[in-house]
Symmetry: C2
Subunit: 475 residues, 2 copies
């Protein structure tokens, strides 16, 4: 531009206020609605469920029950103790599945888990054990008040975080996070994977138990829900970004890891190595975010007439949901392939379909539902910053409400979209957006990427049909 | 709304894509320019400086010199050793000032500092010492390669972070952060303030020295510039929010605090207390962000013909700037009162004018210049989220370029606006935006709030006049 006094300057990029204006406008209620056709063949069931006199108040109660739960970290104990898991019993992510239908990463994690438990001396020999099925059994984590990321395999010797809702004493559980890359939950079972798991069992688990108990007894348990509140203002969406959450956990536990840990006989190098392990693993907090979400959602289970989703989970073959008004029934369809970014030389052909209980975060309104608060996530899962902002806004169209505790600063502190409503999904055709890691489809490979995925559409009409059937049976 | 099948639902808030559209549009170069009149009586000087044949390349060199500096944490040592500070020598924030013109918080910090050094047994008795001025002397931190937040008082016994640019070996220095509220840098000097400073000197400083040296020697020094890169993606703007930065520092130092610290004879309770102190003080990292910014900006000092600002600093009475093309000369005007939010019962009448070297962060393109990346900051300093986004965009109008290392995810990873140009400030009348803490105006009070402030406008035409004079003298 040329100013009146003849100073020539490069043109200043203005456009300055577009974003600000847009945000400001969004603070004003907007009533424009994009009409979308409902999912095929759902009209009759939608009409029945909509007319259910229980529905509105049931959904209010389900949402309220979920939103009022707080999760605290009260203990760390082996699964044998926490869940009464016996030798030969294996938990896994997602809805129920048998070995013959299990995907590569789930098989790999089960084989590694069998070796970890000493059932075989080599993971490769474990396949026969699972094929025979006489001395081993599989059960979803969700059936034992637990959640597991990716393959989600839990064996009796694995140490579990114990989360508790102080108002009710209800508890949920999750294993300790192993880090990224070649790890059991992504289906890897090489010797270094098992070596790390043994260190988790021999050092990190017991040290965390000592520290968590000291903190709990001296100043009250770590407030996991409170850390989630903070991390959502620090660029984490708590599914694929857990960096700030992990650092806050470290902040809260590190003093007691030093004092109680060394009191209990841990060496200072054990303590330092544990601090370094947690601090070097940006996903460590995921294994607290997940059971915190399950603890909240479990409060909404079994609310008759409610159309709210209380779990979304994948076993690598099937994607399943559970709904507040339909008890513990699973509605399942084929797990989808994620669209995203790949590590190193891996590409789409290397990826297994969607796997893991971690979609419990989206079910509770964070993860993919809170992408707007974590725009840097697009460098990890793909997509653009505008997509990330639009995704959170779109998820408000299929949810019952907002979580005032978990707010998104850039959306003027609007609460995250919370309580997926089966009827809204069927009516709009908008599917829940999930941020996820991608496991290699072949047992033993480990992580190959991260990306975005949705559930198979048909499971929502399935759930709706069952809700309609229950509505009719009450009429 | 009513769907075709008669389902009545509450109206869905859409407006969904406004923000996303706005962000997407901003990725396209926009050429609209708001014309603003230049500052009064600057036309002639602007024309002279614009015609300076040195200017363009000088500014390119100054900006480039600043952007290529990286800051690493190489040591922690007392000021007596780091800066050769002698008994009776006091450093302070901002441009040079004498006791008779010093504001309440600066006086309070000097009085507390005198007691800390044993020059008086009661801070109240120190005023006479400074009035006499025979055994004590005052000097700006900036004159000793240092920076100090708020009053910025440094005495010989205080421990200093030592930052180094590995490419050149140049170093800058800053004291350890004391926390918030009643602390010396806000002008408080009560016994608990001095007690905490003694603990910093006796425990935290020496322990950090041990840990910083161990980390430096074993795996290379902590990468302060790298932490700044990360924290700007985690809701910190690195002036009034340093939460993620503090946690990353803790992550990087805590293992060595345990191993090297206990090896060196610190008790485990000293280590735990130090971890707790750092983790409990969200501003701890500010005292690393500031010298990292100074280290970068000092690389641009003395570039003949450059109109880039290399320091903005306040002593509580005067606001001063230094410019690359005018050597170490200060251009000063009266420090302004911030507009913001107050702690407890405090109000505007309790606040001292703007104080501290911390505006070095804005000078380097973060702090108020990076508010868009830290929208939650508005809950601390006031204003709205749209204001925060607009501020960062506006600062691009008065800066020479962007810092590709420090990007703002929500602005599609645009680099922060970097290198304040005196001519652009004069030509547009847009003043640099600073996020700041507010000190009580009476010595001894401490912090009363936090808010937004700008420099006094007249210092930019003052600097411009000197630049024009130098340009003429070269012609």
């Amino acid at each position: 531009m040329t100013t009146p006094n003849g100073v020539v300057e490069s043109v200043v990029n203005v456009g300055t206020d577009l974003l600000a204006d847009a945000v400001a406008e969004q603070a004003v209620p907007v009533t424009r609605v994009d009409w979308r056709p409902p999912m095929e063949h759902t009209e009759a069931d939608l009409a029945i469920v909509a007319a259910d006199p229980l529905r509105r108040s049931a959904n209010e109660r389900a949402l309220d029950a979920m939103l009022k739960v707080t999760a605290t970290l009260v203990d760390v104990v082996p699964a044998s103790e926490a869940l009464d898991l016996q030798p030969g019993q294996f938990l896994h992510a997602g809805p129920p599945i048998t070995w013959d239908r299990a995907s590569g990463p789930l098989r790999g994690a089960l084989m590694g888990g069998a070796a970890l438990e000493g059932l075989v001396d080599d993971p490769e020999k474990a396949a026969a054990l699972f094929e025979a099925g006489t001395s081993v059994s599989l059960e979803p984590c969700h059936h034992r008040s637990a959640v597991g990321p990716m393959a989600g395999v839990v064996t009796p010797s694995m140490w579990m975080f114990v989360l508790e809702d102080p108002a009710t004493g209800r508890r949920t559980y999750c294993s300790l996070n192993e880090g990224l890359g070649k790890v059991l939950r992504y289906g890897a079972y090489a010797p270094d994977v098992l070596h790390r798991l043994r260190w988790l069992g021999n050092v990190l688990g017991p040290l965390l138990q000592t520290a968590v108990r000291r903190v709990r007894d001296e100043s009250g348990p770590v407030d996991v829900t409170g850390i989630l509140t903070q991390m959502l203002q620090m660029g984490d969406e708590a599914h694929n970004r857990n960096r700030a959450g992990t650092l806050m956990l470290l902040r809260d536990l590190s003093p007691a890891m030093v004092t109680a840990g060394i009191d209990a006989g841990f060496s200072r190098s054990d303590v330092a190595e544990s601090l370094r392990f947690i601090g070097g693993n940006d996903h460590f907090f995921l294994n607290l975010a997940m059971p915190a979400c399950k603890l909240a959602l479990d409060a909404a289970r079994g609310v008759e007439g409610s159309t709210m989703v209380v779990a979304m989970a994948r076993n690598g073959t099937d994607f399943g949901i559970q709904v507040a008004g339909t008890g513990d029934e699973w509605f399942t369809g084929p797990a989808q392939l994620a669209d995203g970014l790949f590590l190193g030389e891996y590409g789409p052909d290397d990826a297994n379909p969607d796997i893991g209980d971690s979609a419990i975060t989206e079910t509770a309104g964070i993860g993919g539902f809170a992408m707007a608060t974590a725009p840097a996530i697009v460098r990890f899962v793909g997509g653009s910053v505008p997509d990330a902002l639009a995704t959170t806004r779109r998820m408000h169209e299929i949810t019952l409400g907002e979580n005032p505790r978990w707010s998104v600063p850039v959306l003027e502190f609007q609460g995250v979209p919370s309580g997926i409503d089966v009827t809204k999904v069927c009516r709009t055709g908008i599917l829940p957006q999930i941020n996820t890691g991608m496991a290699g489809r072949i047992a033993g490979v480990g992580q190959v990427g991260a990306g975005l995925v949705t559930p198979p559409a048909e499971i929502f009409p399935e759930a709706l049909a069952r809700l309609a059937q229950l509505t009719r049976s009450r009429a």
